[in-house]
Amino acid sequence: MYWYEKEAKVFSSVISTRVRFARNLEGIPFPARLDEAGREKVFSEIEKAFSKREIEAVRFDRIPPLVKAVYTETRLASPLLQKRGKGAGLILSREGSVSMMISEEDHLRLQAILPGKAIREAASLAMDWLSFGEKSLNFAYREGLGYLNSCPTNLGAGMRLSAMMHLPALSLSGKIPALSRALSEAGFTVRGMFGEGSSALGAVFQISNQKSRLAPPEKIIESAERILSEVEKLEQEEAARLYRENKTDLEDRILRAIGTMRYAKKMEYQEFIELYSLVRFGKALGMEEARKIGQLDRLLISLMPSSMQLLDASLSDPASRDEARCRKLQQEIEQ
């Protein structure tokens, strides 16, 4: 089961946690300067290094565009990987939490994604796989620089830690720019996951470290744990304040969202995110009706256009997807 099919044990502002390491093979040009034959060789070498573990290799030139799009939607691949062509692809752990992009910006981008707040677990998992691969792969490394990657921000540990967080209170109060400023002082960025700039759709944000120079990984993990706890606290405090000052308004908006979710006949993905955000906010505030709805984080991915079309080929036009979206949503709510 992939990360987006699992549910976190404890409800928190953190929807999912991702830890990703970038590595390159010594003596071989990085993917942008490598030809097809070279990339093929890199893929085979990395595949061989992990062959003793339960993996699935997905060569991107052998799969249809829709499948590639879904991999990108589910954050296992990226738009750049889709464009790479022959020799690039994914290696996935059968268990579903570890995935590797081969020849995207670097030869190997290994990531572990887990639901909820799971920094240490994700880091341990990723590092376990990484050291396993390191037994037979020679990763480019230089004293004083750390691991070599095409982008200098990945020097050192080559580690990026990001958390997908739901921050409805801070978003409603317009406090995200201030948060962004404060976090950047600490070496972290905030980016809206859906929509543009800081006016993120659904108040879903990605918080990640800017550079991995604070090697070793332990330091990055510590500062990330601190930062995420701080952000969670700020969100909680703001939520409590908003609820105190605008109880009726908020409850009205949230309950209307629940009503729409229960009874609508068609819904665009964008609208779903807005409703999801309100209902999740209601859960965070402890509202009875919202708590009955249960966890909807899984639907963030499964109701995306490409993912829906992949599961059901008849949903090839937006109108039929919009109707199916409601059916799926209502099925999930009824459970």
């Binding site: 040009p29 990657n149 720019p177």
Partner: protein, 155 residues
């Protein structure tokens, strides 16, 4: 409440903030959404191409090429990306990589594995119990736990 304007176009309010201290000098970037995108900030990409742009281009930079992948120093400066491990051997001294490299880098390889799940603090354990109590609708228990947590956090 004062709104910070984008430093690049001076017209729209800034929504992207980035600040950094290099060698004691603080550099702050405040851009609106459009300017940030133009500078390549908002994609998951190298925000340091701006640093490379502002660094003086080395004379003969286009003639010097990496022996392994053929990328020229000029191309590296312009794109903000390296072509292979050989590029570092050839050019690392000429480019100021200090913003990207920290004290811990030298110890990277000898670094021990990630420390196991830290012994959860008392507060963390109580918070988990609180969450579970709320899930099970045991509100009295939850209230008691909440008070315990507050007492501990007040210390």
């Amino acid at each position: 409440m004062k709104t910070t304007l984008c430093r690049e176009c001076g017209q729209k309010p800034a929504s992207f903030f980035y600040s950094e201290t290099i060698n004691g000098k603080k550099k702050e970037i405040c851009l609106c959404h459009e300017c940030a995108q133009k500078r390549g900030f908002e994609k998951e990409m190298n925000p340091f191409s701006s640093l490379f742009f502002s660094a003086p281009l080395f004379p003969e930079a286009e003639k010097e090429a990496c022996p392994l992948c053929g990328m020229s120093l000029l191309e590296i400066q312009k794109s903000g990306k390296f072509g292979c491990s050989g590029c570092f051997d050839a050019f690392a001294e000429k480019l100021d990589l200090s913003p990207f490299v920290g004290k811990g880098c030298a110890e990277m390889k000898k670094a021990p594995k990630v420390a196991p799940e830290k012994e959860k603090s008392e507060v963390e354990k109580l918070k988990e119990l609180l969450s579970e109590a709320v899930e099970r609708e045991e509100y009295e228990k939850a209230a008691a736990l909440r008070d315990q947590i507050r007492a501990l956090e007040a210390k």
